[in-house]
C-alpha cells in the first residue's frame, strides 16, 4: 500500500535519513523504532509529503507521493509528536476546526467529532479548553484530530511520550481498535520497545538515519538467538570491575543499568563463576544474578551499542 524507496534527506550537508526503504501493507500495524535523533520524525515528514526528500521516493499504491502529495494527504492521518492543538480552544472547537479544514460538512462533522471523542474517551470533556487538560488528555485529542477524515493510514509519532499510565493504556487501546477493528494501516514510532512489541507485527529499527534491522518480533529475536542476557544486581562497583567483566571471553557486551550491569554473553557459556570471582577480587557485593533469553531491547542494544532511550 505504502512504501519508501531509498529515502534520504540531508540538511546543510548533514544526512539525517540515509536510504530508508520500508513498506506497509493494507491493514498492517508496523513499528518504527529508534532512539532520539535516529531520523524517525524526518522519515515520517517525508512519507506524509510535508518534507521533500533529497533522494528517493514515497509510493502510495505505486504512485509517487512526492510528485502528487494530494493523493496521500486524503488518506493519511498524522499524529505528530508535538501537541498540534490550540490551547485556547476547547477540545470540541479544535476538532471542529480541523474537521472543517478537511471540508467535512456540518451533520457529518458533528457525528464524526463525537465518534473520535468516543474513541479517545474524552467525550465528557469536549467543552473544556485544551490548556486545562493533562498531558495524556492532550495527546488523546491530538490523536482524535488525526482521525476526523477517516484516514486509511495513520502515522503516530511517539504518541505516548511523557504521559500517565492511564492515558498511555488508553492510547494503546485506541491504536489496537483502529488497526484491528477498523482495519486502519498504522505506522507507529516509539522508543518504547514494549509498546511496539504489543502493537505491531512487524518493525523497522532505525539508527543514525538508517534502517539497521527489520522483521517480525520473532525474526528480530533470532538475531540474538546465539546469545543470553545476564542481569547483575550489584551494591557498588568501579570501572576496573567493568573492564575485567568485559575482558571475559564469552562476554560480548556490557551495559550499566540502574541496579548494576547487563551482560550479553554467548549462549550457554560457563561464565558465572568467573563473574563471581571478579566480584570478589574487586570487593563488589553481588546481590542478585538473573540469566534470560534476549528481548528486542537487547537486540537493539546489540545492533546499535546503545539503548533506545539514550
Amino acid at each position: 500500500m505504502l512504501e519508501t524507496v531509498e529515502l534520504s534527506k540531508s540538511f546543510k550537508g548533514k544526512t539525517v535519513v540515509d536510504g530508508v526503504s520500508l513498506y506497509l501493507d493494507q491493514g498492517e500495524s508496523v513499528g518504527l523504532l529508534g532512539p532520539n535523533g535516529a531520523g524517525k520524525s524526518t522519515t515520517i515528514s517525508m512519507i506524509s509529503s510535508l518534507l521533500a526528500p533529497t533522494h528517493g521516493d514515497v509510493l502510495l499504491r505505486g504512485k509517487s507521493v512526492i510528485k502528487h502529495p494530494q493523493h496521500i494527504r486524503r488518506v493519511l492521518g498524522v499524529v505528530p509528536q508535538e501537541i498540534a492543538l490550540y490551547e485556547e480552544l476547547s477540545a470540541y472547537e479544535n476538532l471542529q476546526f480541523f474537521g472543517r479544514i478537511y471540508k467535512l460538512k456540518k451533520p457529518a462533522l458533528e457525528s464524526k467529532i463525537q465518534e473520535v471523542l468516543e474513541i479517545v474517551g474524552l467525550r465528557e470533556r469536549q467543552k473544556e479548553l485544551i490548556k486545562t487538560f493533562s498531558g495524556g488528555m492532550k495527546r488523546r485529542i491530538n490523536i482524535a484530530a488525526a482521525l476526523l477524515h477517516n484516514p486509511q493510514i495513520v502515522i503516530m509519532d511517539e504518541p505516548t511520550v511523557g504521559i500517565d499510565p492511564q492515558s498511555r493504556n488508553h492510547i494503546l487501546d485506541t491504536v489496537r481498535y483502529l488497526n484491528l477493528e477498523k482495519g486502519t494501516t498504522v505506522l507507529y514510532t516509539s522508543h518504547y520497545m514494549e509498546e511496539v512489541e504489543q502493537l505491531c507485527k512487524r518493525m523497522y529499527i532505525m539508527d543514525h538515519g538508517k534502517v539497521i534491522a527489520s522483521g517480525t518480533k520473532e525474526e528480530l529475536g533470532r538475531i540474538l538467538s546465539s546469545e543470553d542476557t545476564i542481569l547483575l544486581q550489584l551494591d557498588a562497583y568501579d570501572d576496573a570491575f567493568i573492564e575485567e567483566i568485559r575482558s571475559l571471553d564469552p562476554v560480548r557486551q556490557v551495559e550499566r543499568t540502574d541496579q548494576g550491569l547487563k551482560l550479553i554473553i554467548a549462549k550457554q557459556s560457563r561464565v558465572l563463576s568467573s563473574i563471581v570471582q571478579s566480584a570478589e577480587r574487586h570487593s563488589v557485593q553481588l546481590i542478585n544474578m538473573h540469566v534470560h533469553t534476549p528481548s528486542l531491547e537487547d537486540v537493539f542494544l546489540h545492533l546499535t551499542g546503545r539503548t533506545l532511550r539514550d
Binding site: 515528514s45 506524509s48 509529503s49 510535508l50 518534507l51 521533500a52 502529495p69 494530494q70 494527504r73 486524503r74 493519511l76 498524522v78 505528530p80 509528536q81 508535538e82 501537541i83 498540534a84 492543538l85 490550540y86 485556547e88 480552544l89 472547537e93 476546526f97 480541523f98 472543517r100 479544514i101 478537511y102 471540508k103 479548553l129 484530530a145 488525526a146 477524515h149
Partner: protein, 423 residues
C-alpha cells in the same frame, strides 16, 4: 477561510492577558501623556519653528498718498478729509501687520525672509521655507478705501503653503487674528465701515504643483493627538501578536497539520489577515470610544466628521492587518527569535518616525521628512488634517496613499509566505 477566521478570532479573544495589555495600557498612556503634556499640541509656539517668506507688492507710502488724493477728489470737507487721513496715517495696515509679525513673540517661532515672488516660490518648492505671506499691489489703498470709506472690495492677505503642518496652521491663526483685530479697530475708529481684510482662501500660485490651501483649522488637543498616536501604536502590536500566535502554530506543528488537510497555505495567511483586521478594529474602536466618552474627545463634531473618521480608522486597521500578514510570513521564513526581534525593532522605528510616541514636530528635521513615508505616520497626518480641516480632498489623498501601503504590504506578505504546501 471561515474556519481559519473563526479559529483565529477565538484564539485572540481568549488571550485575556494580551487583550488587557492592548486595551488598558494605551488608555493609561493616553491619560498620562495628555495630562503631563497638556500644551504640547494646543500651544506649541515654544517648540514650533517655521521659516516663511514675506512678499510685499504694496508700496505703503504711495498708497497713503493715493488715499489722500482720492479724499480731495471726492470733494469731502477739509476737516473730515483731514480726520480720515490722520486715521489712515496713524494705523497703516502694512506697518501694523509688519509690527505684529516681527514682534518678539512671533519671531521666536517664525523666521522671516523678505523675498520677491519668484525667489519665494523657488524656496517653497525646494522646502527651504514652509509658507509665503503675500501682500498684493495697492493693498494699503484698497484696505483704507474699504475700512474708512466703505468703497471697493478690500484686499486679501494670501498664505501659500504645501505643508499642512501644525506650524503653518498656527501662522494662519496668527494672520486671522490680525485681520479680526484690524477690522474691529477700524470699525470702532470709523463707525459704519465693514470688515475688509480677508484671508485669501485660494491658492494664489496654481502653477506650483501641490500648492495647498489652508482652510479654517481646528486646534488639535493633546488628548486627541495621543489617543490617535497611542491607539494606532497599540493596534500595530496586534499585528505582532498575530505573528506570535503563528510561531506557536509553527513550533507545535499545527501548521503542518493544516497543510496535511490539503488547505492552501494562503488560506491560512488570509485568515490571519482578516482576524488581525477584526481584532485591531475592535481594539482601536474601544480605545477611541472610551477616550471619547471619558475625555470628551470630539464634542459636537458632525456626522460627516465621524464618517470620515471611521473610514480613516478602517484604513489604519487594514494597515495593521497587512502588517499582521507580513509579520506572520516573516515568522515562517526565518528563525522565530530573529523575526521577532526584527518585528519589534521595526515597530519601534516606525512608531518613532510616525509620531506615535511623541509629536513629530519635536523630532529632528530629518526624521520629520520621513513622517509620511511610514504607514502609521501617513495615517496620523491624514487623521490630524481631518480633525483640523475636515477636508475630503486631503482625506482621500491620505487614503489613496494608505491603500498603496496596504497593497504593497499584502503583496510582500503573499510573496514571502511559503506556498509550496511543504515545510
Amino acid at each position: 477561510m471561515r474556519a481559519f477566521l473563526k479559529k483565529d478570532v477565538l484564539v485572540y479573544w481568549r488571550d485575556r492577558k494580551q487583550n488587557i495589555f492592548s486595551l488598558v495600557i494605551p488608555l493609561i498612556l493616553i491619560v498620562v501623556l495628555g495630562l503631563l503634556l497638556p500644551n504640547w499640541i494646543e500651544n506649541p509656539t515654544s517648540t514650533l519653528q517655521l521659516k516663511a517668506a514675506m512678499v510685499v507688492h504694496d508700496n505703503e507710502a504711495a498708497g497713503l498718498e493715493q488715499f489722500q488724493s482720492s479724499l480731495k477728489s471726492r470733494g469731502l470737507p477739509d476737516e473730515e478729509a483731514a480726520v480720515l487721513f490722520e486715521l489712515a496715517a496713524h494705523s497703516p495696515p502694512v506697518s501694523l501687520l509688519n509690527d505684529m509679525l516681527k514682534s518678539d513673540q512671533i519671531i521666536s517661532m517664525v523666521e522671516w525672509v523678505e523675498l520677491d515672488e519668484e525667489a519665494a516660490l523657488r524656496r517653497l518648492q525646494s522646502g527651504e521655507i514652509q509658507a509665503i505671506v503675500t501682500l498684493p499691489e495697492d493693498f494699503t489703498l484698497h484696505i483704507l478705501n474699504k475700512t474708512l470709506l466703505d468703497e471697493g472690495n478690500g484686499a486679501a492677505i494670501s498664505l501659500t503653503s504645501d505643508d499642512p503642518s501644525i506650524e503653518v496652521g498656527v501662522l494662519q491663526g496668527i494672520i486671522e487674528g490680525f485681520t479680526q483685530q484690524f477690522n474691529a479697530s477700524s470699525a470702532i475708529a470709523h463707525a459704519g465701515t465693514h470688515s475688509a481684510v480677508t484671508l485669501n482662501q485660494e491658492a494664489v500660485l496654481p502653477s506650483i504643483g501641490g500648492v495647498e490651501t489652508i482652510e479654517g483649522v481646528r486646534v488639535l488637543t493633546s488628548f486627541q493627538y495621543f489617543t490617535l498616536a497611542v491607539g494606532a501604536m497599540f493596534a500595530m502590536y496586534v499585528a505582532a501578536n498575530s505573528a506570535n500566535k503563528a510561531i506557536t502554530e509553527k513550533r507545535e506543528h499545527v501548521f503542518q497539520r493544516i497543510l496535511l488537510s490539503g488547505s492552501h497555505p494562503l488560506t491560512y495567511l488570509a485568515g490571519k489577515i482578516v482576524a488581525t483586521l477584526m481584532m485591531s478594529l475592535l481594539q482601536l474602536t474601544l480605545v477611541i470610544l472610551i477616550c471619547h466618552f471619558v475625555l470628551d474627545l470630539f464634542p459636537g463634531y458632525s456626522l460627516e466628521f465621524w464618517l470620515g473618521f471611521s473610514l480613516l480608522m478602517m484604513m489604519m486597521c487594514l494597515i495593521v492587518a497587512a502588517l499582521g500578514g507580513l509579520f506572520t510570513a516573516a515568522m515562517f521564513r526565518m528563525n522565530a527569535n530573529t523575526a521577532n526581534a526584527i518585528i519589534q525593532a521595526l515597530l519601534l522605528i516606525i512608531g518613532v518616525i510616525g509620531g506615535n510616541f511623541a509629536p513629530i514636530y519635536i523630532l529632528p528635521d530629518a526624521v520629520q521628512q520621513l513622517w509620511e513615508w511610514t504607514p502609521n505616520g501617513l495615517w496620523l497626518s491624514t487623521m490630524i488634517q481631518w480633525i483640523q480641516q475636515e477636508s475630503w480632498e486631503a482625506a482621500i489623498n491620505g487614503m489613496l496613499g494608505l491603500s498603496a501601503f496596504i497593497i504593497a504590504i499584502i503583496a510582500l506578505s503573499v510573496w514571502t509566505f511559503p506556498k509550496r504546501g511543504r515545510i
